[in-house]
Each structure stands twice: as C-alpha cells, then as structure tokens.
C-alpha cells in the first residue's frame, strides 16, 4: 500500500506536468477562442484539437497498444495523467464513447485491417463514434430492442429507431445492436455491427432535456445498408458483444461532474445563515462530511481498480458503484445548496460568483441517475453479478421475442 509515487511514477508525473504546463493552457475555451477568433466557440473543434495534441505527445488512450497510437502505459500512469490533467479546464467528453466503448469492442472483434483503419483516427479524435443500443421500448431492458437487420446479399438492411444516442449528430461512426430474428428468444436474436453514421437512410433528431441542453439524439433507420464485413461477433452473438461494451461504459461514465464536494465546500465557506457562518452549522457540517467520504471513497475505489488492473486482474461490475453514488450525490448537493440560498435559491442568474451552477445541476442531475444505466439497473448488477444473488423472476427469457408481452394494446 503506497499512496505516494514510486521513482518511475514520479518521473512520469514530472514529464506529464511539464508537458501539460506547456500545452494545456492553449486549449482552454478562452485561449482557443482568442486564437481562433469568432464569437462562438465550436466545442467539437476545440475537443478535436486538444485530442490531436495529446495523441501527438502519446497521452491519448495511455493504456492502448502503440500500434493504434496508444502508449502501452501502466494503469498507474493513467491515474497520474488523469490527476494532472484534471488541474486544467480542458475540453472533453465527446470522445468518451469512442474511446471507452467502441475502441475496446473494435479491438476485440474487428479485423486487423479494420483496426488499423479505424482505431488511430478514433484515438486522435479525428473520427467521432457513437453508441446505438437503446430504443424507445428498450431502455433498461436493452435486449428488448426491435431494430431489424435483414440479410440482403453481402449487406444487412436496417430498419428501426434508436434513442438516447449521445452526440449522434456530430458522429462519424457508430456501434449498433440489431435484431436479426424475432422468432428466437430475445437474447438470442441479436447481431452487432459498426456503421457509417453518414449512411443513406439515417435521420437524426436532437432531444431536448429538462436542463435545456440537447446531449442526446433519436436516430431513425430506413433501409440503411451495413456491409456484413462490419459485423462484430457472430450472427446471434449480439447480446454478449453488447454486454462487454456496457461493462466498459460503466467504467467510462464514472467521472464526477461538478458540483461535487470541493465546490459545495467552497460555497458553504462563503455562506452566511441566519445563525451565522454556514460552515459552523452542525447540520451543514454533517452533510459535508457525508459527501466528502463518499466522494473520496469513490475516487479511492477507482484507484483500487487501477491497482487491480496493474496486477493483471480484470475489473468487474463493481465499477458500477461510482456512477451510482456520484449521480445521487450530485442531485442532493444541488438541492441542498439551493436551500442554503433560501428564497433566492430559485434564481437562475443570481449574480454571485457561482452563477447558477447548483440550479443547473438541479435540472441536469435527474438525467445522471438514468443515462448510462439507471440507479435500479446498477443496483441489480451489483446484487446479481457482484453478490451472486438470485435474478429477478424472468418471464422473457425463453419465449420467442415476437410473443413477449409489451404492454402495447
């Protein structure tokens, strides 16, 4: 047990720090806007530029093999890089699905030729990937998806609708699960592909969320053709390929978006209550303490996972706890801090230094408890896959998919 760097880690950290100090400041939103001119910032362009810069220096996808542009680094080096990078307000997010989900699944199932074609561009951020699993009638129950794939010569023809696709509107490629045979039981009739998001027959609508943002899309497929060569895994193996992908999602989604403990601690230290400074109020202190140990606990759990990786172990579904704890905590923090602002807590522009960070978090945090696996699905995963508890009674495992109850009249 050693929470300090080893000699080689300290050296790596020094390198990273130096490199970041020189490069990171060029890619903050302000710096980029100043350099590029123009009033509005294109966040995708900024993110791509930063990703390219990282890739050039070997800091994109540190764990990936060098042949795809990675560094072949140790898990601890990714921890170190992450700690150092977090000190700068850098763009991010848009490559998460490509790097966290599409990349690993391509590495496992694509041909060598495909890997060399797609992975380096994915890693460099030159091509953005999205994930097409959820459907209007298949959310938590992903395997209930209905999008049809019908074989036609060397192609498959896709018809149906996907939903909750992050960034579909700016994506170049996608990974998709489809149903090739509804007469089979639901988990057995699925087949997995990757596809060009600019293919004819694809129509994309953005979905507006409570918060007013539109991070997700609906994607409609009308006779979209995918070459059979873009199938990942065997026909009928779609569910097991999808499970691998989702496991990677939970690892990828784990990061905490602010406001987290640090922000709320700062806020509280600056707040006066009726009775005096908020930080002296025992009710406030108890809540802060609870959030600190949760926040720190999740961070340390991630570190433990990295140690397991370093020792050659495969991290399992226990990584689900990060998002579960973090998403709930964010909603609590937002609500709590608005309460401390009393009647003025409802203001979306309150003129203070903090702007309306808690109000915005109040509106976006419900989505955090749903997107990327609901609280309830994550609890089920922990119960069944980590603790080995008996599954829910399943009425949908053996029947042909086409005969399952759907609630549709």
């Amino acid at each position: 047990m050693d929470f300090n760097d080893s000699e080689s880690e300290a050296k790596f950290r020094a390198e990273v720090r130096e490199w970041l100090a020189e490069n990171a400041p060029k890619f903050t939103a302000e710096a980029f806007r100043a350099r590029e001119g123009g009033d509005t910032l294109d966040p995708i362009k900024l993110a791509k530029a930063w990703q390219g810069c990282k890739a050039d220096a070997g800091y994109a996808c540190l764990l990936w093999p060098k042949e795809y542009g990675g560094r072949g680094a140790t898990p601890m080096e990714t921890v170190i890089y992450g700690q150092e990078e977090a000190k700068y307000p850098l763009p991010g997010g848009v490559f998460g699905i490509g790097i966290g989900m599409a990349g690993p699944v391509m590495m496992k199932y694509a041909t060598d030729e495909q890997k060399l074609r797609y992975l380096p561009k994915l890693l460099r951020g030159e091509e953005i990937w999205s994930q097409l699993f959820s459907e209007p009638c298949a959310g938590s129950d992903v395997a209930g998806l209905r999008t049809r794939a019908i074989k036609d010569g060397d192609d498959w023809i896709i018809n149906g609708q996907k939903v909750w696709t992050s960034g579909a509107h700016y994506s170049d490629y996608g990974i998709i699960v489809t149903r090739h045979d509804p007469s089979l039981p639901k988990h057995m009739g699925l087949t997995y592909f990757f596809l060009d998001m600019k293919s004819p027959g694809i129509e994309i609508n953005r979905i507006k969320q409570i918060s007013g943002e539109s991070n997700f899309c609906e994607v409609f497929f009308s006779d979209v053709r995918i070459p059979d060569s873009q199938r990942l895994g065997e026909v009928g193996d779609g569910w097991s390929v999808a499970l691998t992908t989702l496991m990677n999602e939970r690892l990828a989604v784990g990061g905490a978006s602010p406001p987290d403990f640090d922000e709320v601690f700062d806020s509280v230290c600056a707040t006066e209550l009726e009775s005096g400074p908020a930080i002296e109020d025992m009710s406030v202190r108890e809540k802060l303490a609870d959030w600190y140990v949760q926040s720190r606990g999740i961070q340390l759990t991630t570190f433990r996972t990295m140690t397991a990786l370093s020792r050659g172990q495969t991290p399992g579904p226990e990584a689900s706890i990060g998002k579960l704890v973090t998403a709930k905590k964010r909603q609590e923090i937002a609500s709590f801090t608005m309460d401390l602002q009393e009647m003025g807590g409802v203001l979306m522009e309150n003129g203070g230094a903090e702007g309306s960070v808690y109000q915005e978090a109040y509106l976006s945090s419900p989505g955090g408890r749903i997107a990327g696996g609901t609280d309830e699905i994550l609890m089920n995963i922990i119960a069944e896959r980590v603790l080995g508890l008996p599954p829910d009674i399943r009425v949908d495992k053996k029947l042909p998919f086409s005969q399952l109850p759907t609630g549709d009249a």
Binding site: S134, C137, A138, G139, S140, D141, G144, V163, W164, I207, K208, Q209, I210, G212, T271, E272, L273, E274, S283, Q331, S335, M338, D339, L340, Q341, E342, M343, G344, G345, V346, L347, M348, E349, N350, G351, G352, Q359, Y362, L363, P366, G367, R369, I370, A371, T374, D375, E376, M379, N380, D392, R394, V395, D396, L399, L404, P405, T406, G407
Partner: protein, 369 residues
C-alpha cells in the same frame, strides 16, 4: 371532532379540479413555460370569475361567504394543475398581509379590488440568495420613500401592488407600494420554474405607505404561517399528481416482459411517495383547521404542514422522473414541471431548514409555557 373536509368542501374541490382540467390542461402550463407570457391570462380571468380570489375574505371586503378551508381545497387543485397564475402571490401573500396588517382604510381600499381580481398583489421579501430577516434586509423605507432592490419577487413583473418588507425606524415594517408608480423599476428574472413569473424590483425613492402602524415583523410571520398552510396544499396536490403519473406510467411501460411497476424497486418507491403524501396531508389538514380558526396551534401546525409537504413533493417529483426513465428527463415529458414547481414552492417561504428551526422553537416555547 372531525378530521376531514365536509362533503360541500369536497364537492368544491372536485369542481375546482374539473375547472382546472378544462382551463389549465398541461399544454397551458407548457405554453407559459416555453413562451414569453408571465402567466396564462385566460386562466387567471376564469379564476377571478369563479370568485377564488375572494374565497376567504369577509363579505364586507367582497368575500363570497367561504372561508380558509375552502381556500385550502382550491389550493390543492391549483398545485395539482401546476397552474401558471399569480394566485398565491395575490391571495395567500398580499391579501393576507393586508388582512392581518392593514388599517381599516387600507382593507377597504385594497381588499375588494384584490377579491375582484382588479388588482394583483404580491409580497416582496427576498433580497437575493440569502435568508431575509431584520439583520439582512437592506431595502429601506424612510420619509415615505422606498429604496433598494428585492429579488426574486413572485409575480413582481405583473402585480399592481406589493407589500414590501423594509427597514425603518420600527425595525422591519411592511409597506404598500404601487408597482406602476414612480421610482419603481422591474425586470423579469429567470428562475428554476418559468411557469411562475418572478421579477427583480428596484425602488428609487418610490413613494409608499406603511401597512397598518408599521413595525410589523410579527405580522409578516403570521402571513408566512398562513401562507405555509396554503402552499402545503399546493405541494400536496403536486405530489399527488407525481404519484399518479408514476403509477400510470409504471403500469403501462413494459420491460423484461412485464410492467415496470411490478418491480419492487419501483413499487416500494411509489409506496414511499404514498406514505410521505399521507403524512403531509394529515399535517396539512391540521394546519387548515388551525388557519381557519386562527388557533393558537397555528405556528406549530403551519410549520409541520410545510415541512412534511416539502419533503413529500421533493421526493415525489424527483422519483417520478426516475420512474419515467429516459423519457422522464426530456423537455418533452411533463415530469419536469413538477420537479421545478416542487423546488420553487420549497423555497418560496424559506427553506425546510428554516421551518424546522421555527417548528422546534415553537415547540420549545410550548414546552416552557
């Protein structure tokens, strides 16, 4: 003893519910949310025509022979409909402040107009993201002039008059100001719940008159207690709607070959909504009685009703979204109307922590009495 509304009051509730279903369909709420209107004028006109703005007033001031119990059942329906109107500002706050604190002349001047919907009133208390009390209030009233800024003022952009809490020689006094008069500027502000309009109202030597004899911080507390009961009914109406929405969705939505409402994780969540809603309702009924009889128990009853209803609505509105899953957090679904309103109502008279503190202070006072 009788711990329920009368048959007549229940009929009024049903009648109010039917009226709001017709006049305040959820698309009306959405129109205000997405548009530029501060409130729905048709709905407001209808409410005024029904006489709801006059519900609890004595007949001499334009009242229609009802009382506070009737106002409570109407409040529940308004909350259920998340109605976009200045009802609470005008009726629970401005009207009550004048009833409790105004001189006879002020009552005769303003109450009939408020009752008839000729005037919309409001209460201006908050001065930004902090607690508002005699130590923190900065708006001043001197020599008949108001100076300073109040924000957010509910319906401050559409109200005609406001009762303003201001510092003067008597500590804090409530003063009456004509919002379209000289020295008043107002600007709509964005809040968490755009279906209820709020404004930043600035006074620069705005002429105003003291309510009653002034020095009425205690009157303000009474007004807050009384409004707390009425808002509790709005909260309960909203919480009940959330529970019903969640129930309906979870029965019709299938996953894993069965309705999602058959999974205990969701069933028990909805049972918890029910428990919280029932506790809130029971506490609010006691508050309604205390309000209607001006009982000595009102401060305790009002705080209990508010604490319980705030907890119930917060829980029901956020878990209703969760039970709706992906749909729940879209703009297109209606779940967020309640999530917004729940937070607005939980803060509009001060946060739960302030009311918990008030409750315990009142219980301490009872204990040492």
């Amino acid at each position: 003893m009788n711990f329920d509304f009368s048959e007549e009051q229940k009929e009024l509730r049903e009648h109010a519910g039917r009226f709001l279903k017709e006049q305040c369909d959820i698309s009306v709420v959405r129109r205000v949310l997405e548009g530029d209107d501060a409130y729905d004028e048709n709905l407001w006109k209808g409410i005024v025509e029904m006489g709801w703005t006059a519900t609890a007033l004595p007949e001499e001031y334009g009242g229609i022979g009802y009382g506070y119990l009737e106002l409570c059942v109407i409040a529940e329906e308004i909350g259920r409909a998340v109605a976009p109107t200045p009802f609470s500002s005008s009726v629970y706050l401005a009207t009550e402040a004048i009833v409790k604190g105004g001189s006879d002349e002020q009552k005769q001047e303003y109450l009939p107009k408020l009752a008839a919907g000729e005037l919309i009133g409001t209460l201006a208390l908050s001065e930004g993201p902090r607690v508002a009390n005699p130590n923190t209030i900065e708006v001043t009233f001197e020599n008949g002039k108001l100076n300073g800024t109040k924000t957010p003022v509910p319906d401050g952009d559409v109200a005609n008059i406001a009762v303003v809490a201001a510092k003067d020689g008597n500590g804090v006094s409530l003063v009456l100001v004509d919002l379209s008069g000289a020295g008043v500027s107002r600007e709509t502000v964005a809040t968490i719940d755009p279906t209820r309009s709020h404004a930043k109202v600035s006074f620069k030597d705005a002429p105003a008159v003291v309510l009653g004899e002034g020095g009425n911080w205690d009157v303000l507390q009474q007004v807050l207690d009384r409004a707390a009961v009425l808002i509790a009914f709005e909260q309960i109406g909203g919480a009940d709607t959330c529970m019903r929405m969640a129930r309906e969705y979870s029965i019709g939505r299938y996953a894993f070959g069965r309705p999602i409402g058959s999974f205990q994780a969701l069933k028990h969540r909805m049972a918890e909504m029910y428990v919280k809603n029932e506790l809130a309702r029971s506490n609010a009924y006691y508050g309604a009685w205390a309000l209607s009889t001006d009982a000595a128990e009102l401060p305790v009853a009002a705080a209990s009703a508010r604490i319980s209803a705030t907890d119930a609505y917060h829980f029901a509105s956020k878990e209703n979204i969760q039970i709706h899953g992906g749909m729940g957090f879209t703009w297109e679904a209606d779940c967020h109307f309640y999530y917004r309103r729940a937070k607005l109502l939980s803060l509009c008279l001060g946060s739960a922590r302030v009311w918990k503190d008030r409750l315990i202070s009142n219980l301490e006072a009872q204990r040492s009495a």
